[in-house]
Symmetry: C2
Subunit: 203 residues, 2 copies
């Protein structure tokens, strides 16, 4: 059986697209939009809010400004979204092999002791800038480099808040790939190669 695959990625590194291709190649579910839909059902919050706050600590979200101590006394909407999303991720992983992108899924699955292949996708800034411009265009009028750095920072803050760990620490990944140097197809190939090996060992 293929493993559950969790993909953590830097913004603009192509991790999402790599995950999608891996899922297609292995013919297993790719969980992205579905997580948002199900988390909305689970939590009662709007999909738009979950899309915005289900992975990043945005400036608009004041919950990350309060101390952990005061946070213990009540549950913020962000916490409720995290917990609902956590449940959706665990339910999906328990069902069988799938690819899950981001959302602290590496930590959530490890913590629940669900066997999982943990992948990190990263790339240097020039590669990421090219990719973001190709994919989104310069839609925000914000300098693209700054946009990438901001998105990374928001995700890292979110990850740190809910896992108490540093995002990107190599110890947390079975495989970390530089998609800028290796190219998207090589990353897909190496991940599928590994998943197939685990599949053979399991059967």
């Amino acid at each position: 059986m293929y493993p559950v695959i969790s993909i953590s990625r830097e913004f603009g590194s192509g991790g999402h697209s790599i995950g999608e291709k891996v899922a297609k190649e292995l013919d297993i579910p790719f969980l992205d939009g579905e997580i948002v839909t199900k988390t909305a059902e689970e939590s009662g919050y709007a999909k738009e809010l979950i899309e915005e706050q289900g992975e990043t600590a945005s400036a608009a979200n004041k919950w990350f400004d309060i101390s952990a101590a005061s946070a213990m006394y009540f549950q913020s909407p962000q916490d409720e979204i995290f917990l609902a999303q956590r449940k959706v991720i665990l339910d999906a992983a328990k069902k069988g092999p799938c690819v899950i992108v981001g959302r602290c899924s590496d930590y959530i699955l490890r913590n629940a002791e669900i066997p999982c292949l943990n992948i990190l996708i990263h790339a240097d800034m020039p590669h990421r800038i090219t990719r973001v411009l190709e994919r989104y265009g310069d839609i925000t009028n914000v300098d693209v480099r700054k946009r990438i750095q901001k998105k990374d920072k928001q995700r890292r803050t979110y990850y740190r808040y809910y896992t108490d760990q540093q995002w990107g620490a190599y110890q947390n990944y079975d495989l970390a790939l530089d998609s800028g140097m290796l190219g998207e197809d090589t990353c897909v190939h190496l991940i599928c190669e590994l998943a197939s090996k685990i599949d053979k060992e399991n059967s």
Copy 2:
């Protein structure tokens, strides 16, 4: 043509052995003892000293205690060894494909803009303890976990001193592998797979 392959590794992760097998499989030189011999010739220092101080900042080595500012006024034996070793690594890499383990080779080659496949091998503590006991036995009577942590620390201090960078930052590696989870043979396989791909693209 195969790339030059630099392998950084945690102590006890099997990185040395993986590097050796990769070199054998690709039929390219594996540089380890040879670096020590040539650095001895280049620097005039004894091989034993180079083995001990060519990669680790040991407690016995007082040079790491002095500030960078005072270090600017003279060259320590450790600095002379580093520079001689750097020259040996660069000469070897310029000659053609090879596997080099540790010794800041990832930084040295990147800094000299010599194309290089940068690999990180790591494993969790239980796997490393098992491996160190199998390989070296409990020869020092020092608690094995402490020995591993000390060795890692010495290498990290050495790396930080000469590169001004944090050892293990994922951005520095094209591929990072958890040898404890993946197993040694899978690591060898993935690295060779990647080297062969680069070989094909180059030709």
